[in-house]
């Protein structure tokens, strides 16, 4: 009798195991696809920016790896990376790359704490916080910043009946610092002749966690209007008004559900949430956010990284006609040398795909912009040096 009882219990356990065990179908490695696609491998990095199929819609051919990669960080590039992972796994069935959108700050923490293979961040490693040294200690070699996706920051708003809103950097700084609190403020009205602004309170939304989007946006405010935004740029939002929301998606959702709301968010989330985006007037006429207008601003960015590091300095004060000034370059932060050669090979394969024309060409579809050619080439050279 006792035996039958134990049998009952073990059947229950076995049933639970059984469900787990018979799911190995998607677990097979894909050695064949890895070998068939190795023609455009890492060696092509230096000169062959355009050699990797330019016209293909699926995202070009890639060097495959099989195994798993783990990464986390910026939510601004999450949409782009998810698309990249989807396209990459279509070609390379055994490549399991996962990306957790936890914010740039968390991404760097995870990377330094050896929890992930590379980090996604909207800001390069910050020497003021000793991040490069910590990453170096964790990698055992230099950690390099590789700009990969250009993510314009949209100033999104939710105002019934106002389909087009023009803001200047000064107005933006005043709104986000709480100096302007009503939508029908005279200064906003002056920038928007002919638009009927409602008498409504402005609800400001910002990112609650350490975020590269906040870092870049506050940098923009500080560089363009020091009197209204005296704070230095910071991953942690320093504004005194409004409400914090977690993640790019969180801000997008909050603005879309709150009448009278304004916030800053990566472009793709503005598209996802079907939100109105303000046009920015930096002195030479209002500029709407498009791939071209954002590309103009990033093309003027200077490479300030040394060696294999490609960190960029963006000039937010650009007065160039038709340039949308608030852009961020989101980086992949990786070790130059990995202690585990397999990880190095895998990271290299995936980053090579990210920097390829095949993938960069698809970026505008997800609301991001591709890297300018000159920067893309530098990034490819650096990726080729990863070992």
């Amino acid at each position: 009798m006792k035996n039958s009882r134990i049998a009952a219990a073990s059947i229950a356990a076995a049933a639970a195991f059984g469900l787990a065990a018979c799911g190995s179908a998607s677990n097979d490695s894909s050695g064949n696809s890895a070998s068939s696609n190795s023609s455009s491998s890492s060696a092509a990095g230096a000169s062959a920016g355009s050699s990797a199929s330019s016209g293909s819609s699926a995202g070009g051919s890639a060097t495959c790896f099989s195994g798993s990669l783990k990464s986390s960080g910026s939510t601004a590039q999450q949409n782009a990376i998810n698309q990249a992972i989807a396209a990459y796994t279509q070609q390379c069935k055994g490549a399991k790359t996962s990306y957790t959108g936890s914010g740039s700050g968390q991404g760097i923490t995870d990377f330094i704490g050896k929890q992930t293979d590379w980090a996604g961040s909207d800001s390069a490693l910050d020497p003021a916080k000793g991040e490069p040294d910590k990453a170096k200690a964790s990698c055992g070699s230099q950690a390099i910043d590789l700009p990969m996706v250009v993510g314009p920051i949209a100033v999104i708003y939710n105002l019934k009946g106002v389909g087009k809103l023009i803001l200047t950097p000064q107005l933006t700084a005043k709104i986000f610092s709480g100096k302007i609190t009503e939508w029908n403020n005279a200064e906003i009205a002056k920038a928007n002749p002919g638009v009927k602004l409602p008498s409504q309170k402005i609800s400001v939304f910002f990112r609650s966690e350490a975020s590269g989007t906040s870092d870049n946006f506050s940098n923009f405010l500080n560089q363009t209007d020091k009197t209204d935004w005296p704070d230095q740029h910071s991953k942690q939002w320093t504004g005194k008004v409004g409400q914090g929301k977690k993640g790019s998606a969180g801000v997008g959702q909050a603005v879309s559900s709150t009448p009278g709301a304004i916030g800053y968010d990566e472009w793709s989330y503005a598209i996802t949430n079907k939100l109105n985006m303000a046009e920015m007037d930096s002195g030479s006429g209002p500029v709407a956010l498009t791939a071209e207008s954002a590309g103009q601003a990033i093309a003027a960015a200077k490479v300030v990284g040394t060696g294999k590091d490609v960190s960029l300095a963006i000039n937010y004060n650009t007065k160039a006609k038709g340039a949308y000034p608030i852009v961020l370059a989101t980086y992949e932060i990786a070790c130059l040398k990995y202690s585990n050669p397999t990880t190095a090979k895998n990271v290299k394969a995936f980053l090579t795909y990210l920097a390829s024309d095949g993938f960069q060409g698809t970026l505008t579809q997800v609301g991001s912009a591709p890297l300018p050619k000159s920067i893309q080439q530098k990034v490819q050279e650096s990726i080729a040096a990863i070992s």
């Binding site: 799911g23 798993s68 050896k114």
Partner: protein
Amino acid sequence: MTAEAAPPGPGIPAKYSDAHSGDDTSPGGGLGGIDHGKSRARALKNSIATVLIWGAFFIALIPLVWILWTVLSKGLQPVLHVNWWEKDQSGAGAPAFDHNLRGARHAIVGTLLMGLATAVIAVPIAVLTAIYLVEYGSSPFARIVSFMVDIMSGIPSIVAALFVYAVWVTTFHWTLLPIASSLALTMLMIPVVTRSTEEMLKLVPNELREASYALGVPKWKTILRIVLPSCLSGVITGGLLGLARVMGETAPLLLLASYTQYLNQNLFHGSMAALPTMINDQALNINVHIAEQRVWGAACTLILLVLGINLLGRLIGHFTKVKR
């Protein structure tokens, strides 16, 4: 309460008789009610109380039914898909640009595996602790252990997770593995199972033990062959209920288990998805239709899993009951 109300009170509609204790006054009132006016006042009070209690009952029912209805109406459709149980989320792109539901096998398997690993670690410890406390526990040490179990059951789940994180990552600099989440869940499961097992062991009549001793059976054999078998069903039920509670736990997973869209069946490698983390991941984009479906599908699956395990526990309890 049910025992009190079991004999139907006179003068009360039979369908109400076992639902509440509010009518306990009226049988007394009916029996001793000589004065008509008074009994009418009592009848009035009785019906008011009845209405109030039924009202409270329905108010308490509203959120429960509401939740179940929302989850089922929104989540049943994806769950009924074959793909949902057979495929993982590999190949999923950004939610707004992806129109394919895909499956939740990675999360279902992850939840079951983590839960099972938790049970494998927690149940033996908990059962042995309970046996010690009930059968051997009269020393000051046993009182300390009992006190500690109380403290442990009061630990918020996020603190258990923080503890594991502090040891695993901050102290040893290891990469987080799926088993780390199981360890945190173990700390939550041990006190629950210990307490339920303790109750079960206490229910075993002392006469059984004494009869066994009288036959010259040593104490360890008495526990193993007499005490445990006669309360085994309760112990198993307690274990499964503890498992069901732990499987829906979210806080430790948020801290310790990073979400991945791929099926992983190795608790000691990589990262493993679970249903709560899948919900958390997809909920960020809940205003995108496909992500919304995944969220409610995963919520529905989780409820179904927990319900299934609860039922399994009761069934095992029912069929392995020792007939006295």
